[in-house]
Amino acid sequence: MSERDFIQRKGPGEDDSDDVTTPGKAGGGQVFDVSDLLDEIDSVLEENAEEFVKGFVQKGGQ
């Protein structure tokens, strides 16, 4: 991996030539609209949320 590779931001719709050393919103200020996202999340969210959450039990680790 060359030193230069890391300066590319690969966010969709972004300009790869964007100079990272320039402060400012990386995505050019185009942040998504939350309400658009909610419909999408509704469609993928575990159907029985209550049961899903109750069943998600982990053992402790480090």
Partner: protein, 500 residues
Amino acid sequence: MSVHRIMGIENEYGIAVAADPAANPMLLSSQVVNAYANETMPNRMRRMRWDYDVETPLRDARGYDMSRADADPSQLTDEDFGVANVVLTNGARFYVDHAHPEYAAPEVTNPRDASLWDVAGDRIIQRSAELASSLTNQLITVYKNNTDGKGASYGTHENYQLSRETPFPQLIKFLTPFFVTRCLFAGAGRVGLGQEGDEPGFQISSRADFFEAEVGLETTLRRPIINTRDEPHADPDKFRRLHVIVGDANMSQRMTYLKMGSTALVLSMIEDGFLDFDVELHDPVSAMHQVSHDYELVHRVRMKDGRELSALEIQRMYIEQAHRYVAATDADEMTLDVLSEWTRVVETLATDKFALRDEVDWIAKLAIMNGYRERDHALWNDPRIAAIDIQYADMRKEKGLALLMQAKGKQQVMFTEQEIAQAVVTPPHDTRAYFRGKCVEHFVDQVAAASWDSVILDLGSDVPLTRISTPDVRKGTKDLTESLFASATGTADFVRKLQP
């Protein structure tokens, strides 16, 4: 100095079978690890071992590694509990730790690579769970998170190589306030307050409430903010490995980069004896909980000298020091980038934090949950809110909220899918992980065991096992060993060529 140093990340992933909440997590973890190993390394020595003991005579390392059974998927279920352990061609260790599958990424030399090989681990666990699900006829799901919200926590650990000469009291003094406030950008977000999460609410860090001590050796009980475990996995006279256990698992590739980069920069300032300012907290453990619970970013914590400062102000103090430090040196590009991103993110937190919803994990979660709270009047203890908290870190492409956001351009990414796919199978070129990964790639059916600082090869039953030490993290690189791998006609020839 700079953000460049030897570093790496380990993740313990959450694991579940929704249809069978009582499923044994150790068995599931073993199935997941073995499914991946059997697919990617069908000829590997059965039970390739982790070489725990550098002092063990070679013969002793043989143990039950001697025979190689064919990898038959039907045998998967009766693999020994907890022993699943492989070294991958990308140099990572993939194994079962406690009741979780763990991916310990290969050693890298900079925060960008740390993030890349961390994301590679996400793809590996994703594939592993898919394979194990189809082999065992049940849906096994894995999560890059740190708590079940019911009292259990499992870690995302960072490792940084330090000079042995770095005075530990200085590390404690300057790392503690940094770690307590770093969650402002590196927090993964969590629903519920307290270890058991029984108090409704939201907090910035998923790990903070599980910390109960300032300094100590523990990682599972009375977890300390500064962990003193001292296994350098390198020359102990020259190096120390700082084992950082306070971090959250980040889905945001950019925040993993910034977390590792800013930490490396603070370490660099400490190592150079550059830092000399008053930043000590009156009660670090309590401050850690307070900062995490303050997602409105208004709370002030008490300092040792009596001042009351916000987490943002404390971060700004570090950033100010870093600007002076970097200005005094001929800083490289990545160091400048880390500093500029660190500055931008902290300043944006202060002015318009939701502008960071496409890059900071806890803000992404909070923005989504606030959407539900507004639209559906959902309360913090609404099961859908808790489900979002868990599902944000689901590793499935079609279900994981962060992965979906990334795919739809709603969470910024640093790496192309091609770069990630490459990091899944290839090691970093500039550390000993290259040597380890390439040994697995070229000689998988002769690798009896491996560890961070060794590879043990089996050249046949009539010869003792050959242990190759790799104590120097910066050796065994592509530059130093590529031609050896290319020219060796076999394992024995390779070992001969390695000898001076």
